[in-house]
Amino acid sequence: MLTLSCPACYLAGGRNWSDLFVVCTRSLLTCTFCLFLFFPPPIEIAISPNNHEVHIYKKSGNQWVKTHELKEHNGHITGIDWAPDSNRIVTCGADRNAYVWTLKEGTWKPTLVILRINRAARCVKWSPRENKFAVGSGSRLISICYFEQENDWWVCKHIKKPIRSTILSLDWHPNNVLLAAGSCDFKCRVFSAYIKEVEEKPGPTPWGSKMPFGEMLFESGGSGAAGPASAGGGGWVHSVCFSHSGNRLAWTSHDSTVSVAEGGKTGTVNSLSSETLPLLCVTFITENSLVAAGHDCYPVLFVYDGAKASLTFGGKLDVPKQTAQKGISARERFQNLDRRASETQSTEKDLNTLHKNSISEISVLEGGRNQCTKFCTTGMDGGMGIWDVKTLESEMKNLKIV
């Protein structure tokens, strides 16, 4: 869980349904960031401007002030996660290392975690109870790291089979044991990351009851279909997300599909082939609704109907205010004809959306994944937008978030 609910997180000025905070003037190629809300506010953010450092910004008034710079990595930082309860940050990078940062006497001190991987780390996530974290990497395995008290260091265990390519995204189940992983071998899988040293045996879940470490409980594209030619989805799985209860798993894939699977009902994977460009990130905002965003630069809503087991498109969530149609002078008409072979102004969609480049991350700010009231998107244009669900619902007709 990334967030606690914060009553004083207000938006400063601007449009009434979203606001753009430009946190970094350089373009953030991979907008890795995470949000941390604190009682009482200040709100703090850790971001990496596509280099070896992590910058921590604190919100004071209407401004974002940089408070710390964390420099330890030798390679680009590919994943950051902030554990709100224990106040620790974990970062992983292209230098095949991960560091756990703890705040001591006002500065962040790093602790190296030996991941035993021989390729870059790609993504990292704290577990819900923050006693372990998972790192996905290009070495085709997931490292589950936990703290060993006796030796006072972080130890890691690997989940290898049957992953065949880079792990692109991770998400923990609320029971702290199950982990969903989306990978470049076109599959989304659920593994058990049960570490007996730090937790007791978990109870049975709809995904399975026997959960030894490393056991694969679910695989998209057919259960254990033999051979490399199994008919799977055609794209890398960019993002995975468990619902609040953990019974549903959603993932987006590079072939412009979004899919939802329910635990226990094997074979009922419901995908929706969308008409948009591929979606890069997805999150549940209620048990039945998903918000996803990607290369089209605007978030979209999908609604999953559990009874009918169907996934439908709910609507675009970024309808720009229509600018008044200006009359086109004759001269402009000829200019347009000359430039674009058509007399009308081309509809440049991108200028009208909040984000001017692909949206790479989306996360829930308030309300949790079952009753989200605010969520936040960051994009490759270096900007971060905060969206208020209630205002969206009232602004857009026919938009229903169930």
Partner: protein, 147 residues
């Protein structure tokens, strides 16, 4: 009942599925079985059915290049036989998977252009894009098994 499509010309189109009847045109991967019958000079109703039938059972799983080529040739013939004004109706009659499959054939057809094929395919492309969105093109690009 199978007749070699090379003996067909002009308005005759081959469409049929009969499973497992002829080993010359299909293999265990499942291919499109071809047979011919005479078609009356283009009557829209028949063309719609022709479109549906030719998009059924695409030779995705087979490794036999021959089958794929014949299937592609057939689809091209059907697409060319449509009148420009009927193309939109043709696309509307397809479901989502059908539109994706049509896009795959359109791009396959672009790969090997003949005299008039590209013009016809571009008209189909415009209508299919309106129906399927850019997502259908992305699915052509990311598909691991092609027609």
């Amino acid at each position: 009942m199978v007749i070699n499509t090379q003996s067909c010309d002009g308005l005759m189109l081959g469409l049929c599925d009969i499973f497992g009847a002829c080993s010359r045109y299909c293999d265990t991967g499942g291919g499109l079985l071809l047979c011919c019958w005479f078609l009356n000079p283009p009557c829209t109703g028949n063309l719609m059915e022709a479109l549906q039938a030719v998009l059924k059972n695409p030779p995705i799983n087979t490794k036999n290049q021959n089958v794929k080529d014949r299937a592609e040739g057939l689809v091209l013939k059907v697409l060319s036989a449509f009148k420009s004004s009927d193309i939109e109706k043709g696309v509307q009659s397809l479901d989502k998977n059908g539109v994706d499959l049509l896009m795959k054939y359109i791009y396959k057809g672009f790969e090997r252009p003949s005299e008039n094929s590209s013009a016809v395919l571009l008209q189909w492309h415009e209508k299919a894009l309106a129906a399927g969105g850019v997502g259908s093109i992305v699915r052509v690009l990311t598909a691991r098994k092609t027609v």
